[in-house]
């Protein structure tokens, strides 16, 4: 198996640590091997970009890391929890409390205003409406949307929508945030401003970001860039000087 993870000190804690993760879809002749033995580490405070051509397994990998899919084999520990050891209910609860999501198409709920959209993760975690909205208000203010609390997604620009989506990903203070093509629907300047926010988030203590992207313009924001192809991580490079890190 190809080893693409960093050589880590034995006592080092990882936000994500995958070893030999495989995942396939279908059965028999229709079986497709989407992940072919993935080794990946993501450290707290790190922004890791996952890049590669369509169909290379990026989405499957983040689905496994976020406990949406179960791997077929291998081990995947996220925030110190072994995902394979959790049942479906525990995975759902873990996802709700510990992981934040930012999607390509923002995926805000169109009928809810910005404040309500950002409150959703807290409400899912059982918080009261009042405390959820207080916290959501604070987070929206941090991304300069304190004046657009009652705006519906359709009344916001693409950049504003993505900032609402980022607020939603942050509101419950998750330790891992997964962003799926966060800038692909944004113009260059807006994309950069969104990445600046995400970069700042990654620097928060104990928090890690995984960003799936095709957009080379934002590679400079990465601490490391993992290149995937055909279900494998073929290369991990430093985000700044693009040197191989393993």
């Amino acid at each position: 198996m190809e080893s693409t993870h960093n050589a880590a000190a034995p006592e080092e804690q990882f936000a994500v640590q995958c070893r030999g993760v495989t995942k396939s879809y279908g059965t028999g002749d229709a079986r497709v091997l989407a992940l072919r033995g993935i080794d990946l580490d993501v450290r707290p405070g790190e922004l890791l970009m996952l890049v590669g051509p369509s169909g290379c397994g990026k989405t499957t990998l983040i689905s496994v890391i976020t406990a949406i899919l179960s791997q077929d084999s291998g081990n995947c520990e996220v925030l110190g929890r072994d995902l394979q050891a959790m049942n479906k209910k525990e995975r759902t609860r873990f996802r709700g409390s510990s992981i934040g999501f930012v999607f390509q198409f923002f995926n805000l709920l169109p009928a809810l205003n910005a404040l309500e959209n950002v409150s959703v993760p807290l409400l899912i975690n059982g918080q009261s409406r009042g405390s959820a909205e207080t916290r959501a208000r604070e987070v929206l203010a941090e991304v300069d949307l304190g004046t657009r609390l009652r705006s519906l997604p359709a009344q916001l620009s693409g950049g504003q929508q993505q900032r609402v989506a980022i607020s939603r990903a942050l509101v419950h203070d998750p330790k891992l945030i997964v962003c799926d093509e966060p800038t692909s629907n944004l113009d260059h300047d807006t994309g950069r401003s969104v990445m600046t926010i995400l970069r700042g988030i990654a620097k928060s203590p104990g928090r890690a970001l995984i960003v799936v992207t095709h957009d080379p313009r934002i590679f400079e924001f990465a601490d490391r860039i993992a290149h995937m192809d055909d279900g494998k991580i073929i290369d991990v490079v430093d985000g700044k000087n693009r040197e191989r890190t393993q």
């Binding site: 369509s54 169909g55 990026k58 989405t59 983040i62 689905s63 976020t66 949406i68 899919l69 209910k89 759902t92 609860r93 873990f94 996802r95 709700g96 409390s97 992981i99 999501f101 999607f103 390509q104 198409f105 995926n107 709920l109 169109p110 009928a111 809810l112 309500e116 409150s119 959703v120 993760p121 409400l123 899912i124 975690n125 409406r129 939603r168 799926d180 093509e181 692909s184 799936v212």
Partner: protein, 398 residues
């Protein structure tokens, strides 16, 4: 989250309005159809309802409804009167006769012969007429009995009882007090018009007394169809009916039981009722189909939103609760609007067209329960893809 679920529902105004409209339509259709059916059945036992004083109806053992009767021996009246617990008893006879109008046209009537002593069984009369005028020879009261345009007589005197050819196409007006009809070659004089309950099946009614009946009807061995009785104070009608049956061998039923028997008889014997029931079932099925499909489509079109919630950690139970809350709200609103609409349209139909509509206490209840049930079943069915949904579909690569 339930509040947000309802906001999600109402956020898409067009779909929300469509859903409410669909359920309102179903609720209206089901309740109206059911009330229409009840209206028919109520008209089926109009004769019983028209004699509210009578607690017990006594009849030939083979009779099951006022629709199909055979007469009793004349002695039955005295036999019933002699039974302990009977406060009063009086006769009532039903027959049919074909009446000829003055222009030569004819029309079958149900003839109702009332006791000439008490005139019990004569309905409320129009224009303040007194039932006592029925005691005059050949006096009758006519009533459309739920029909429309069947009681017409020529406007011109010259078209009435012509000596030559009948004047079938002469202009007509509604029968009025003072007009004459010919029954079995005997002239009868209309002394009043009544406000009797409409009948099912609709048939013009002709009320008169027993002596007049005996004069105008073809000779029959007996002219007694029912003996109507009131129970003495403290005696239950059903107990009295059982006692009358035991002592006389005749069939005796309390009014309420006889109404129920009549409904059952129509359900079993009337092909029209079967057709109506089939039509109503079809209408209800269409309504339920509309509701189910609309609810299903609404949830299905929101799958992506549910996938987002699922990815963010919403449990299947929470999502199911949200879907049921949305369906429940739509069902409640739609049912309420449908019932209100049904009441208004039903009342208009009664007022304007004398429509057989009767919204009894259980019709809205049954309608509401059925619509709620269908909504919840549709919600449960539409929840299945949500529960099976793989939240990974929210990622761009999927």
């Amino acid at each position: 989250m339930l509040r947000l679920a309802l906001k999600m529902l109402m956020g898409d105004r067009a779909k929300y309005a469509g859903l409410i409209f669909g359920i309102t339509f179903t609720s209206f259709l089901v309740t109206f159809a059911f009330s229409y059916f009840c209206g028919f059945m109520t008209r089926g036992f109009a004769l019983i309802a028209e004699n509210p004083v009578a607690n017990v109806w006594v009849m030939d053992p083979a009779v099951e409804s006022p629709e199909q009767t055979i007469n009793l021996p004349d002695s039955a009246l005295n036999r019933v009167r002699s039974i302990e617990g009977v406060n009063a008893a009086w006769p009532l006879a039903l027959s049919t006769a074909v009446a000829r109008f003055p222009n030569g046209r004819f029309q079958p009537f149900q003839v109702i012969c009332a006791d000439d002593a008490t005139l019990a069984g004569v309905p409320a009369l129009k224009d303040g007429a007194s039932p006592a005028m029925l005691r005059a020879p050949d006096a009758v009261i006519v009533d459309p009995g739920g029909t429309d345009g069947k009681l017409e007589t020529p406007i011109l005197k010259s078209d009435q009882w012509p000596s030559g050819e009948p004047h079938l196409n002469a202009p007509t007006r509604e029968l009025a007090v003072g007009d004459e009809l010919l029954i079995n070659d005997r002239r009868v004089l209309i002394r009043a018009r009544s406000d009797a309950l409409p009948r099912y099946p609709p048939l013009p009614l002709l009320y008169t007394t027993f002596p007049n009946c005996a004069r105008i009807l073809l000779p029959e061995p007996h002219l007694l169809t029912f003996v109507l009785a009131t129970a003495a104070p403290g005696v239950f009608p059903s107990d009295l009916a059982a006692r009358i049956h035991d002592r006389t061998g005749l069939k005796a039923r309390s009014s309420e039981d006889f109404k129920a028997d009549t409904v059952r008889w129509f359900l079993i014997n009337s092909e029209d009722v079967g057709d109506i029931a089939a039509m109503l079932s079809l209408a209800m099925s269409v309504g339920f189909g509309v509701t189910g499909v609309m609810l299903y489509m609404f949830t299905n079109e929101s799958l992506k939103q549910y996938a987002v919630l699922k990815a963010m950690g919403a449990s299947s139970r929470l999502l199911l609760t949200m879907i049921l809350a949305q369906a429940g709200l739509c069902a409640l609103l739609g049912t309420g609007l449908g019932l209100g609409l049904c009441g208004i349209v039903g009342q208009l139909a009664i007022d304007q067209a004398n429509y057989p509509f009767r919204m009894m206490w259980f019709t809205p209840v049954v309608g509401a329960v059925m619509v709620l049930l269908v909504s919840l079943v549709a919600a449960a069915i539409s929840a299945r893809p949500v529960l099976k949904l793989e939240p990974g579909v929210v990622f761009a690569g999927r």
